[in-house]
């Protein structure tokens, strides 16, 4: 009994210590056979992603973001180095069981309906029967696509595809989510919705690794990032530490006239002998757009109903 409790304690302790992802000395070369040379996709990458954090893979096109994700999934094999997912080698069954993946520009079987697609992927994850049925129902609610469950995938908009992509990634309740450009090609409201979902998942204890070009969105939600360029690691750490400049402060003043603001500016300059810049606040286009169209977007996903002739099921 004591032995059993101890081994359980060991497992719990080990689980807490083992990071979600551990990459050591990872290198990936693609051989260009005809030119008799190799292309370096990743070079000596070392990084660790802790449990429960949102981690950003950043970099321009061709920097190695998608390659890193494919290596984590076992779709590519490393030339050198190793990747451990919760202590298991990437690509193994145990590693795959703990990962949910949303590919860039998700392409799903077009001939299936949303529900059929989730059932197919659910069965691949070992779910079946009532449990699978319940899970599909809950996920359609979570990603707000209940109304489109019986529609063929080919009729889905880009935003809907991303959302059903998230649903299929979450089917087997994985501990780690790999999201490759989850907001690519999605309108600002759709991408805000995906962002909110990511925050919600983090609150549920999920670890999320995602890549994105939309840096403003990354900044909002990410805990730590790695910035890659041509397969090399440029920066790695907490985003806050990277972006905070302790030599430069911003002070916000509300409800003052321009004359009063000038007074404050002069006063600060006289008293503190430092340079002070004053300019009206400027809203980002994204937040302006979202505020302007800040209504329930789900109405826009629903098919238009024609006046007059309407078929009732």
């Amino acid at each position: 009994m004591i032995k059993k409790t101890l081994s359980h304690f060991d497992r719990v302790q080990k689980r807490a210590i083992v990071p979600a992802v551990e990459i050591q000395g990872l290198q990936k070369l693609f051989s260009l056979r005809w030119q008799k040379k190799s292309l370096i996709a990743l070079e000596e990458l070392d990084l660790e992603v802790q449990r429960g954090e949102i981690f950003g893979l950043l970099g321009p096109n061709g920097s190695g973001k998608s390659t890193t994700m494919k290596l984590m999934l076992g779709l590519l094999y490393p030339t050198k180095g190793q990747i451990k997912i919760f202590g298991h080698t990437a690509g193994t069954m145990q590693a795959k069981k703990s990962i949910g993946f949303l590919p860039e520009n998700p392409y799903f079987p077009q001939f299936l309906t949303g529900e059929e697609m989730l059932r197919y992927f659910g069965e691949l994850c070992g779910l079946h029967g009532k449990k699978l049925h319940e899970r599909i129902r809950n996920l359609f609610e979570l990603v707000d696509l209940k109304h489109a469950a019986q529609r063929r995938i080919r009729t889905y908009s880009k935003g809907m595809l991303q959302r059903i992509g998230l649903a299929q990634a979450l089917l087997h309740e994985p501990e780690l989510l790999l999201l490759d450009e989850p907001t690519a090609g999605v309108d600002p409201i759709g991408s805000r919705r995906i962002r909110d979902l990511m925050i919600k998942l983090k609150e549920q204890g999920k670890t999320i690794i995602f890549s994105s070009h939309l840096l403003e969105q990354v900044e909002d939600i990410v805990d730590r990032v790695v910035i890659l360029e041509r397969g090399r690691k440029l920066r790695y750490g907490r985003l806050n530490d990277m972006l905070t400049n302790h030599q430069d402060y911003v002070m916000r003043l509300h409800g003052l006239s321009e004359a009063k603001i000038q007074e404050v500016k002069d006063l600060l300059q006289q008293k503190l002998d430092c340079s002070v810049t004053c300019e009206p606040s400027h809203e980002s286009l994204e937040s302006f757009f979202i505020n302007l169209l800040g209504r329930d977007k789900s109405d826009l996903d629903k098919p238009l109903k024609h006046k007059g002739k309407s078929k009732s099921k």
């Binding site: 069981k97 299936l112 059929e116």
Partner: protein, 302 residues
């Protein structure tokens, strides 16, 4: 261990069902099958021949129809199995799930075989109906029976000569050995499908896969001629030629063996043990082809 096997079977079944659903919802498959049905039905409008020749001609065309339609379906289906998944990137999502790569290959192949089985059963049933229609036509022309009497099987009032003639016509039409022929067509299609699956793990171009599969099929059909020319018992045989023909013989299935179908159609006796041997030969080839496909697919990067 047993749980793992059950989970594996569930995953393979899911991939197979998905492959079958995709194929059944493709318009091109429907068009191919319709062409097959038209081809088989067209055999009814043939030249005026004696009834034995008529039935032989009908069977020749019918089995050619089933074989060609099945082959087109096998080639289109198999050649699209993996390259299309890579091109559409649906493969990424599937392989990212807890699925072994060999399960993917096996599931895809079983889905294809399920599709071929449906098509072979459908065309064979249709062909049987065509044979019965022809039987009715011949009987109503050559004997005093009308179609209703033929349908009800009421020939008691006829004399023995006419009765034996009707029996002869029915024997030519309702040949139980045709089940053996259907099985052999199906087995041949299974091998062609396996070959196309193997090639689709190596190449990504559909036209390349189709043309190489057809080439191997052709070589497999001509193998016995080359064996006669270059084999051990030939005057022109050399060590090199014998080694070459042995190697090719191991690599390429001998499709000439499936020509037992022609003998069945010609009315010759082909034993069930021979048919079963052919099924075993096909199963062995398919196993080797799929094992190779799985090994190659395991090493591929996406």
């Amino acid at each position: 261990m047993i749980n793992g096997m059950i989970e594996s079977i569930i995953r393979i079944r899911a991939i197979a069902v998905n492959t079958l659903t995709e194929a059944l919802r493709q318009k091109v498959m429907l068009v191919v099958v319709l062409c097959g049905l038209v081809f088989i039905a067209g055999s009814l409008f043939m030249a005026d021949l004696a009834f034995r020749e008529q039935f032989k001609f009908l069977k020749d065309l019918g089995y050619a129809g089933i074989s060609i339609t099945g082959m087109v379906v096998a080639l289109i289906g198999a050649a699209q199995l993996i390259p299309a998944e890579i091109e559409r990137r649906t493969l990424y999502t599937t392989l990212a799930k807890p699925v072994w790569r060999f399960e993917f290959i096996l599931g895809k192949y079983i889905g294809l075989i399920a599709l071929l089985s449906i098509i072979v059963i459908m065309l064979s049933t249709f062909f049987s109906v065509i044979l019965l229609i022809q039987e009715m036509r011949v009987i109503t022309i050559e004997t005093p029976l009308n179609w209703l009497q033929w349908l009800l099987g009421s020939s008691d009032h006829l004399n023995d000569g006419i009765k034996s003639h009707i029996e002869e016509i029915q024997n030519a039409s309702r040949d139980p050995r045709l089940i053996q022929a259907v099985l052999l067509v199906w087995a041949k299609l299974c091998v062609i499908g396996g070959l196309a699956v193997l090639l689709s793990t190596i190449a990504s171009s559909t036209s390349f896969i189709v043309s190489i599969t057809l080439m191997v099929y052709l070589v497999g059909n001509l193998l016995h001629i080359v064996r006669l020319e270059w084999g051990e018992h030939s005057v022109e045989s050399t060590f090199l030629k014998i080694t070459f023909i042995t190697l090719v013989g191991w690599l390429v299935p001998d499709f000439e063996l499936y020509n037992l179908i022609d003998e069945i159609i010609a009315g010759k006796n082909v034993s069930w043990s021979m048919t079963l041997e052919m099924l075993q030969y096909s199963a062995l080839y398919v196993t080797v082809l799929l094992a190779l496909a799985a090994a190659i697919f395991e090493g591929r990067e996406f």
